[in-house]
């Protein structure tokens, strides 16, 4: 019973009836009610989503697996109603998609390069494995040199370094060649190196610096360069394969790896230049970085293909792939520089000051204190720019270099495999390949990010 007073106030003096127990709060039905069907909009979205999945997924699975043709010799196998993916087409074109027109007898060289790349990358990428310094040295320095020799066949036939260009060596040494190595070049190289070492040492000593250390560092530079040129020059007995015959995934990976290996050091240099106190160096770095970042890669490739040959001396006609590589490397270096700059800016000032207080020189400070921290911080960013670099390699097909996508497009025109499903099969295969590469890289970057997060949380 309740009481109502004259002024209309109301007092309730008995318990309200108990409410019914709440509907299920746990279990599948409750979860669905709360998450999927909590309102009109939500229910509509759920239904639409399920319809979309039903519309996309079963046909996709049917196409890829259930209705797919797995064996066959030519297009006959894949004709007919209700045929899914034509996998024999991929099987037949597999060599072309991976190696391009690389001579079949020489494909083992490509295989070795692929295998060596994987073998070096795994210890580099797994954080718990030791010998990081050694593997990075092998991957970033030795591997490119070896891969170059294996893929092209080496034996670059170096003929003149510096002095011979003025005709100073050939007349004394003659046309001697030992084991495919041109003696003129090496006499030239050694003499030039000696001259440079003496000149550097002398100049620095004259200015009052340490002439010996200047001479020594010049010597090391020439020695390293000489070793690389020697590796490329010596005839290892491999057949020469010109880059026009390369193609498919090989070219995609060559461009991606070259871009990665070249853009990282170049990007670090540019980032340091942009953060430098020296106004001219800073200005040059900013102009360089912002120029490449402001233009699309296509125009860079057009630049490398049509404009670069005009800028080089007459007769110098660099290889088409090399030109594209230069374009890609410069382009990605600019993006890399911005990523590295982000890392440099994240290092607290105390680190710089501490390093300077320890009496470290600028290069020691950067090498030992700042860069190791800055680069670790931006590993996710570096991997992300590798992903975009990898995706951007497809653009070379526009300047007639047949990368993976280019070979795929070329394979569509084969009349032996002209079926209604060829196109879809090719796109499905290429899509899976590209996705695996890029998705793998992005997962790796997430993994590193998480690792770094825990170690840097205060």
């Amino acid at each position: 019973m309740s009481m109502t007073f004259d002024d209309g106030t109301f007092i309730r003096n008995e318990m309200a009836p108990a409410l019914p127990p709440p509907t299920q709060r746990i279990g599948a039905v409750a979860w669905m009610r709360e998450n999927l069907f909590s309102g009109v909009l939500n229910t509509t979205l759920t239904v639409l989503g399920i319809l979309l999945v039903a519309w996309v997924v079963p046909p996709f699975i049917r196409f890829m697996f259930l209705d797919a043709v797995w064996t066959g010799e030519n297009r006959e196998a894949c004709l007919g109603p209700q045929v899914g993916a034509c996998w024999p087409f991929i099987h037949a074109k597999f060599g072309q998609l991976i190696y391009g027109f690389y001579p079949i007898a020489e494909r083992w060289r490509v295989d070795i390069v692929f295998a060596a790349g994987v073998l070096l990358l795994v210890p580099l990428l797994v954080p718990s494995l030791p010998f990081k310094r050694l593997t990075s040295f092998l991957f970033f320095v030795v591997y490119p040199v070896v891969a170059f020799v294996l893929l092209t066949g080496g034996n670059i036939d170096a003929s003149a370094f510096l002095l011979e260009r003025f005709g100073l060596i050939g007349s004394f040494v003659g046309d001697a060649a030992i084991g495919g190595i041109n003696l003129v070049f090496w006499v030239d190289y050694v003499l030039t190196a000696l001259l440079a070492i003496v000149a550097m040492g002398g100049l620095i000593a004259l200015l009052g610096g340490s002439g010996r250390s200047a001479a020594l560092s010049t010597f090391w530079v020439f020695l390293a360069l000489g070793l690389v040129i020697f590796a490329w020059d010596v005839d290892v007995g491999l057949e020469y394969v010109e880059t026009r015959q390369w193609g498919g995934l090989l070219v995609t990976l060559v461009i991606a790896v070259t871009g990665i290996v070249a853009s990282l050091p170049l990007g670090i240099v540019l980032a340091l230049g942009r953060r430098s106190q020296m106004p001219i160096v800073r200005l040059l770095s900013v102009i360089f970085i912002e120029f490449w970042r402001g233009v699309p890669l296509i125009t860079v490739l057009f630049f490398a293909t049509y404009m670069l040959p005009l800028f080089l001396p007459q007769g110098a006609n660099p290889d088409a792939l090399l030109r594209a590589l230069v374009g890609v490397a410069l382009f990605s270096a600019a993006y890399m520089a911005e990523v590295v700059r982000g890392g440099l800016q994240a290092i607290p000032k105390g680190q710089y000051e501490g390093a300077m207080a320890m009496g470290l020189t600028w290069s020691q400070m950067m090498r030992l204190i700042i860069l190791p921290q800055a680069l670790t911080l931006v590993i996710p960013g570096i991997v992300n720019s590798f992903i975009s670099l990898f995706k951007d390699t497809t653009l070379v097909l526009i300047v007639s270099i047949f990368d993976f996508l280019g070979q795929l497009r070329a394979s569509f025109t084969d009349p032996n495999w002209a079926t209604p499903v060829t196109l879809y099969t090719g796109f499905a295969f290429a899509g899976v390949v590209y996705f695996l590469f890029c998705f793998g890289m992005s997962r790796y970057s997430l993994f590193v990010e998480r690792r770094l997060n825990t170690s840097h949380r205060h």
Binding site: L207, P296, I298, F302, L310, L423, F427
Partner: protein, 396 residues
């Protein structure tokens, strides 16, 4: 050796090349000399090469007759037009793709980005799959896919898919009805302009009114009414001067209507969906950057989910979203140069492609093309910096 330390207690006597100032000037001089030398030798080589290949120099070619046709022109253009005109045709085509693509990408990107944070499992999963798949496939691959696999697979014009009998989708592209402007159409256009102006004014007025009285007017409905009503009234008064020409199938193709070429559709759809995946991620991280307390406070004030999102979360998230959003817009514009892969006549395809092949004037043409994109980037960056300064949190 002069770099030995001096007597104890005295000032160390070192060479002047160890002086940081001298070093920095020396290094900068070396850098400058190297750059100048490179530039000079490039110029020398270019001059020799151009002379040897008998290629003309200068920008005189812009006034020459181009002699090639372009299959989508927003301004009058024919084979007898000049290269300069071809440049503008290409530029406008690029801008068209960029504008349409940006609008589409923003819509899709915001929807997917909000979807990724939805409580609804189905919506969230679909959004995540969308982002992961689209982000991890090269844009050129996607453009080729849309062009070769989707649009080419559309039925021929005779069997084209028709929407409401007005829009037709076939392997020749999309055919839209063409608006025909009759007498008095100008008044209707003015009415639309007036409606837009009134909407802006009304928004301001109602906002300041809300500040004063705390009461919200139904702004959305009044504005919608203004936007639809005013032009409608103008149409009725002037006797419906704007009509639409419905495309008709004649023989093997359509006559009349506006034809949207398949290259444009493929490029725009591919770029919009690709960029949308990135925008979705920006939107997601922007929304997540707004602290949870904000939405809790909004809920406790009695705002509903939609209102919380619209009035509290999004305005704060925009501060974080807009800078990367602009760089995505810029990326989309730059990626529109992939048009050359499927033959859409954008700036690169028309100018750096066909015009370059015909004239051989690589230096001028590539410089102009790069200059256009650079200019776009610089303008965007300037606007962006100004915006950033305006919205940046002013801390104590």
């Amino acid at each position: 050796m002069t770099d030995l330390a001096g007597p104890v207690g005295g000032r160390a006597k070192t060479s002047f090349i160890n002086d940081p100032k001298v070093r920095s000037i020396g290094l900068q001089l070396i850098a400058l000399v190297v750059v100048v030398f490179l530039g000079w030798s490039f110029a020398e080589n270019a001059r020799d090469n151009l002379a040897a290949q008998k290629i003309a120099t200068g920008f005189g070619f812009l006034d020459n007759t181009s002699g090639f046709g372009i299959n989508q022109t927003l301004i009058p253009y024919s084979e007898t037009s000049t290269y300069g005109r071809a440049f503008f045709v290409g530029l406008l085509n690029t801008i068209l793709v960029a504008v349409v693509g940006i609008i589409l990408a923003t819509i899709i990107g915001f929807l997917v980005g909000i979807g990724r944070l939805s409580k609804n499992f189905v919506v969230r999963t679909i959004s995540t799959v969308y982002v992961e798949v689209l982000r991890n496939l090269p844009p050129l691959f996607q453009i080729l896919f849309w062009y070769l696999a989707v649009l080419s697979a559309m039925p021929s014009p005779r069997q084209s898919i028709s929407l409401f009998g007005e829009v037709f989708i076939s392997n020749r592209g999309i055919i839209l009805p063409r608006p025909l402007f009759g007498e008095g159409a100008g008044i209707v256009v003015w009415a639309i302009g007036l409606a837009v102006l009134l909407v802006i004014l009304f928004r301001h007025w109602s906002a300041s009114r809300q500040e004063e009285t705390g009461r919200r007017l139904p702004v959305l409905w009044i504005n919608l009414g203004l936007l639809i009503g005013l032009p409608l009234v103008a149409m009725i008064v002037t006797g419906f001067p704007i009509s639409f020409e419905t495309p008709e199938l004649k023989g093997f193709n359509f006559v009349g209507g506006v034809q949207v070429i398949p290259e444009f559709v493929a490029l725009t759809v591919a770029l919009a969906t690709y960029t949308a995946a990135f925008i979705a991620e920006n939107v997601r991280s922007g929304i997540q950057s707004v602290s949870h307390g904000q939405s809790e406070a909004a809920h406790s004030l009695g705002l509903r989910n939609g209102q919380t999102l619209r009035l509290v979360i999004i305005p704060q998230a925009m501060r974080v979203i807009i800078p990367p959003l602009t760089s995505q817009y810029l990326n989309l514009t730059k990626n529109s140069s992939l048009a050359v892969g499927i033959g859409y006549p954008d700036l690169v395809a028309v100018f750096a492609g066909t015009a370059l092949n015909q004239t051989g004037q690589a230096i001028e043409i590539i410089a102009i093309t790069m200059g256009v994109y650079l200019l776009l980037s610089i303008i965007t960056a300037t606007i962006m910096n100004a915006y950033n300064r305006r919205v940046a949190l002013v801390e104590r």
